[in-house]
Point group: C2
Chain length 488, copies 2
């Protein structure tokens, strides 16, 4: 508790340079850009409006996608009885160590008959409750989702990436056939890819996880992996196929078309507020954040420049017209009338990663122009005020594309293909990035890579490539082509 409380108290004066200390830069930027802080409750964040608005943009986008394909939002209970949680042995093994327990309640703080877990994830309670609503194959599929927060008693903490409470959506679906459930897992992974690439502008490698990295209780896990600017990979979303494992443990069955009882096939999938951390680490630079326009709480900031009351009045009237046009064009914008020097304002909005800035002085008002600066190139361009709504809409779209392309170039420059364990070990001593290698599929080989290459793990299996060559560990013919990386 002390560490965070102390960190809280002192202001971030200067943001550490990314090149000097990436971890420190990350925390500095998030706090100085007013996205989030530690709360003083050990390991728990307070998410401030600028950070929360980014998460809201993600939630709106994803919620629209899943509703379009027939998914429905539910609210399942926050507290889960202990006996329910432990029914699926593998699952509880995965989560047991991280659970926080409500044991007392009421005026006299009476001990409860049975401890209640604060949900670490809701597979168990959803599985238990959904039974009631499934009698026949006509009740399937059941495509549930919920937006909530979950608690996991983590020992390490990092803003947005690892905290004792985080916010997410958790989808749980139940199907009459294995194929339909597998298709669901793939469908959702496609949505997640769109969130990562089209919205967050972070290119991802996607595919199955190796057995060692598969979710507790799942038959297989699909993942998307992005690359952060320190060369470390980040899991951007996962979608799990359970087969009939959960249905067996929680007795979720239906009468099929032949009127026989059959166990359901189920899936679960989630993305969380860690995606907000991802956009910080995937795009930021020494000056601070760079926020993708589709996610940006503020897409355009207008900085007035004036010396005397007369020029202020002129600039104010001119900006009034601009703001009306921006509003009509649906552009999220703000005018910065604070009593600060323009230079300080520029630095402030650069730190916050606002994609476009308009500097507007009396001369601009006379000429009917504005000075536009984008957060990527930082070049100043004079732009006519007439038609500004349309122009900025185009600029924001172009910015979104450029940001994705920049991330794609960065990933290309940091993705490698190696053929031996020695090369892999040598590589990760020097640098990060993704390294594609052939792998036998043996867990022993996977463990040896991790042990020898300093914690490097298999992030994903290439879904497309026919494997060629020999496993970098055992030398047997490879079954898979896999991406190795250090990961958050």
């Amino acid at each position: 508790m002390k560490q965070e409380t102390e960190e809280q108290q002192d202001f971030v004066k200067e943001v550490t340079k990314m090149s000097d200390d990436f971890d420190r830069w990350y925390t500095d930027v998030i706090r100085k850009a007013e996205m989030a802080d530690w709360s003083g409750v050990r390991g728990m964040m307070v998410v401030r409006p600028y950070g929360w608005a980014m998460w809201e943009a993600i939630t709106r986008a994803f919620d629209d996608m899943i509703k379009e394909s027939g998914h429905e939002n539910w609210a399942f209970p926050l507290l889960i009885p202990q006996q329910l949680l432990i029914k699926e042995a593998e699952h509880i093994e995965g989560f047991g160590p991280e659970v926080a327990w409500v044991t007392r309640a009421g005026a006299a703080k009476e001990e409860l008959e049975e401890p209640l877990a604060v949900r670490p994830t809701s597979e168990t309670i959803v599985g238990h409750l959904i039974r009631r609503y499934i009698q026949s194959h006509r009740d399937l599929p059941k495509l549930t989702n919920q937006w909530n927060s979950v608690v996991r008693w983590e020992m390490r903490s990092r803003l947005f990436l690892r905290s004792r409470e985080f916010w997410w959506q958790e989808g749980h679906t139940f199907h009459a056939s294995a194929q339909e459930a597998r298709d669901e897992v793939a469908l959702i992974l496609g949505y997640y890819r769109s969130i990562a690439e089209d919205w967050l502008a972070v290119p991802v490698f996607g595919g199955k996880k190796s057995p060692a990295e598969t979710f507790a209780g799942a038959v297989y896990t699909m993942t998307l992996e992005g690359l952060m600017r320190d060369g470390v990979a980040l899991q951007m979303g996962t979608s799990h196929y359970f087969g009939q494992n959960f249905a067996r443990a929680y007795d979720i069955s239906f009468s099929n078309k032949d009127n026989e009882r059959e166990l359901c096939y189920s899936t679960s999938w989630g993305i969380s507020t860690r995606l907000v951390g991802a956009l910080v680490m995937a795009h930021g630079d020494d000056s601070g954040l760079i926020v993708p326009p589709r996610i940006a709480p503020i897409q355009v900031v207008i900085v007035p420049i004036h010396r005397d009351p007369e020029s202020r009045a002129k600039v104010e009237a001119f900006i009034g017209g601009l703001a009306t046009e921006l509003k009509a064009a649906g552009i999220r914008h703000r005018v910065d009338w604070r009593d600060e020097r323009p230079g300080d304002k520029y630095a402030h909005w650069e730190l916050k990663g606002v994609p476009l800035r308009l500097n507007v002085g009396a001369r601009d008002a006379d000429a009917g122009t504005v000075e536009m600066v984008d957060r990527l190139s930082r070049q100043r361009v004079s732009v006519p005020a007439s038609g500004i709504g349309r122009r900025l809409t185009d600029e924001l779209e172009a910015f979104q594309k450029k940001l994705f392309e920049r991330a794609l170039v960065y990933r290309r420059e940091n993705t490698f293909e190696l053929a031996t364990l020695d090369e892999v070990v040598a590589h990760f001593k020097e640098r990060g990035g993704f390294v594609w290698v052939p792998w036998s599929g043996d867990t022993e080989c996977e463990e040896r890579i991790k042990a020898e290459a300093g914690g490097v793990t298999i992030r994903t299996i290439d879904p497309d490539a026919r494997p060629s060559g020999k496993c970098i560990v055992c030398g047997k013919p490879a079954e898979y082509r896999v991406a190795l990386a250090k990961a958050y």
Copy 2:
């Protein structure tokens, strides 16, 4: 736990008639209409998609309102350290008996150094954290809101109205002056009135609460009170003015324009999923729900009527065209192709309270018409298919108005003005509704009313009326005109 679990297991076959048993009708309708159920975790609900979509409609509407006036969403921690919770003595007195405590966590279920409360409401943690972000008057106002769920260890339970977990928004704002904070309380009450009347179609009386009904720790509480169809009042939203009470307890101060430290003035306000219960009880009838169109998850349902493959094909093609028009008009609709008899489908959608139903057969397809039935009048009207989008948009607006007017008439018929305690006692032996009476303002008089009139309470003080006459209890000149009612 047993009671709810048992109730869960058996299906609701027939909905009890409202006139036979209102409480039973309420639970039957909610469960049979697939809005919510008890979860088996004692006192905790599972909210199903049809119920949750109503809450989502409310959240969207209110979120838009508060953002328009500069409020911002935050995420504050779910768990609150015990020592923080008990700082404001009155406040914890109000909530202490209802708190659930996390006392253990992790693999070995180790006892925590300090118990953590699952938030019953967040005044304390918000007050504690907001201090960091307030230095000067330039940092004010701070207009925070969050959407979450809270836990209160209630002993009685009723779906949507009283449950151990419920969903809500809680706004917490901090101001540089008392007047500004008071204005905020009034602004929000105005938004709540719009949600109640314009969205839920429930007319409300609004004003201050009497001291006995004021929120723990507040200087005053503003409330909105609606009337349910059993004559019992329901609190639809409250907005609290704390003066400097919370700021004093949590040391929330700012340097004012004279550069002196001053304590902030604060407010808090909330509406919850109980509003979903309110719309059930304010509008329903023996056949089930009647959902206001602006809240309705399904505004229009189309029931195809066909006898053979040929007529089915014709009807299907015709409905395809209708559905396209409805979609273009932004109308939330569903086509019911299930294998059920039309009459069973009618009853099903009436139970679910869908405002408009279109019955479409082969003859309609030939004639280019549809048969429209509205849930209020239940009259069948033939309507041309051409221009159906515009027509139904108008019909839905008219329906929303009619529903409000119907509720207004009901309230008018159930609102009374009485002058003596005897009359009040006699009234509430016979019936419910609102009874306006003159009141001295003495708590003793308030308590006596409650004791003698079977639990009747002062729901709100009339903000407009100059009091006239004498207090119905003590006979002194009245200070206030107040509305009495039984309440949920």
